[in-house]
Amino acid sequence: MNRIHYKGLGDTIIDIVVYVSLIFLIIVTLYPFLNTLAVSFNDALDSSRGGIYLWPRKFSLYNYKSLLDRKQIFHASLVSVGRTVLSTLFCTFSTAMVAYTISRKDFVLRKLVSFIYVLTMYIDGGLVPTYFLIRSLGLTNNFWVYVLPGLVSAFNLIVVRTYINGLPDSLTESARVDGAGEFLIFWKIVLPLCKPVLATIALFVAVDNWNAWFDTFLYNSANAQLSTLQYELMKVLQSANTMTGSLLQALSRAAAGTSNTITPRAIRATMTVIVTVPIVIVYPFLQKYFVHGLTLGGVKE
């Protein structure tokens, strides 16, 4: 925006207020992360003396070593990665396919399909009926409960459909004249053209899946093989500052024979870092796409 500036005392005060408050925001946002990072790399016993702020005082990798050595944590990270990758692939493909069909103006079921999806944005069966449904489908204590229920969401569907509607018809028209089937047109022409919007929803689905813990808690908590990283972190958090959690007990037992110690705070910090790092890695990509995704989401029928 090209604004003509009138430099006066008032404007200088505004500059000061703006910069000070933004710097305050940056500090308040980053400090908890940096502090946690410092604690995770600091010797656990030393941390409990307090005074760790932005940098480790007694550098140690023992926190990471002891956590990553646990089969439970290693396995949970595999499950987290697995659910994230599979959900992202399935969701993106399915959403694109359904969106393509309802973008076709002459499709007989266009209105019906759109209506049934849009209505799901307003109704909610609730916790208990959904739980019983999942159970009767045999999806409790089952990995696929992470992937199947959320396959196509109404919001993502609208976003992709809006994008496809914006593509010129001529692109698919010639293929249709040449006698290409609908699936072929979708696969060869529409899907590649939708890359930007699909990247947007893929990233959102990936982040949502990586961050989810409630489905593990509700449906898969009886099976340790299906635990996810977020759920493990949540359990550590819930056992708060006591050594009651099974993971905490196991870790302190493992540390007992060595010169190392482990504390609940150190475990929480280290787990937090492990869980957050993947988000930070995809963050530049996320940032590239999310503003785009938000503006697309605002476009309604």
């Binding site: 908890p32 760790i52 079921l109 609730g126 916790l127 208990v128 199947l148 813990w213």
Partner: protein, 313 residues
């Protein structure tokens, strides 16, 4: 006479169309079945609220109790506590979140150093993408009595003499929820206002400058009035979500000491329903919440439409 001829032909046409669009149907109908199973079948389960549901028996072999579960619900003091907590936290989050996001958008808009602007924005969005599990961890650490940064700062400023156990004070819980919500979502919330600000006609500012308006006056008389429609539409739309004040945040930050102020609908359903195996009661809670939410969403849409804005539906 005409109709008797066109009807069968129309029917044939439709049938032809279906046959022609076999591929499109195959590409969408499996997902239609999927969404019906996962989103609509649970609504069928609402029948449970009118029964004394016991797992192991079919839905129609249960004892029917009519509105008994709803009667119990409306008689329960805890229900009114849950309703109060939900509405209070929703409103606190909505007001604090909106004010903070608008303030941030205005501040970012005043920055002309491009690099600093980009950095501030990038950092402010980051917490939106982390899970509440992580965020709750960070909040607990920051508020801890054992070297938590908030207590440290307050003590070094001599505002307090000894650490305060913030998360143990019932009256403070709502505000902790509000402030941690702002911490996590302020940057994300500001995006939409920044987009609205970007759409303001620069000629308005030029005219204001000629009239001698400083930046504060430009903000007050041009920027804020120009984004007012965006602010009101977002406020109204969010009214529809008053019954869902979030769940993860409260669940992960609560503890026994503050539970009377932390309990929201989902926690109520879990603790007073599922954990006590009162499945029918928990379903009744869910129905109450869903129905009221639905009414609020539609009311919000109607109000928004009356305001001359496009609603969600």
């Amino acid at each position: 006479m005409n109709t008797s001829i066109t009807l069968p032909r129309r029917h044939n046409k439709l049938w032809d169309k279906i046959k022609r669009q076999k591929a499109l149907i195959l590409m969408s109908v499996p997902f239609l079945v999927h969404i019906i199973i996962f989103k609509y079948v649970p609504i069928w389960g609402w029948l449970m609220a009118f029964q004394n549901y016991w797992p192991g028996k079919g839905l129609f072999q249960q004892t029917w109790v009519g509105f008994e579960n709803f009667r119990l619900l409306f008689k329960d003091v805890v229900f009114y506590q849950v309703l109060r907590n939900t509405l209070a936290m929703s409103i606190i989050k909505l007001v604090m979140g909106t004010v903070a996001s608008i303030a941030l958008a205005l501040a970012i808009n005043e920055v002309r150093a491009v690099k600093f602007k980009k950095t501030a924005q990038t950092i402010s969005y980051l917490p939106h993408f982390i899970s509440w599990v992580v965020a709750a961890n960070l909040v607990r650490d920051a508020l801890s009595t054992d070297g938590g940064i908030i207590n440290q700062v307050l003590m070094s400023l001599r505002i307090i003499k000894e650490p305060i156990m913030f998360l143990g004070i019932p009256k403070m819980f709502w505000w902790i929820i509000g402030i941690s919500h702002v911490w996590k979502e302020v940057g994300w919330g500001a995006i939409i206002y920044l987009a609205a600000i970007a759409g303001i006609d620069p000629a308005l500012y030029e005219a204001a400058v000629i009239d001698g308006a400083g930046r504060l006056k430009q903000m007050w008389y041009i920027t804020l009035p120009s984004i007012r429609p965006t602010i009101s539409i977002l406020l109204i739309m969010n009214m529809g979500y008053l019954m869902s004040s979030g769940f993860e945040q409260q669940y992960l930050l609560q503890n026994g000491r503050v539970i009377d102020y932390a309990r929201v609908f989902a926690i109520y359903e879990l603790d007073y329903g599922i954990k006590m195996m009162r499945y029918s009661f928990a379903t009744a809670v869910g129905i109450f919440k869903s129905v009221v939410s639905l009414i609020l969403v539609f009311a919000a849409n109607q109000i928004a439409k009356r305001w001359g804005q496009e609603g969600l539906m």
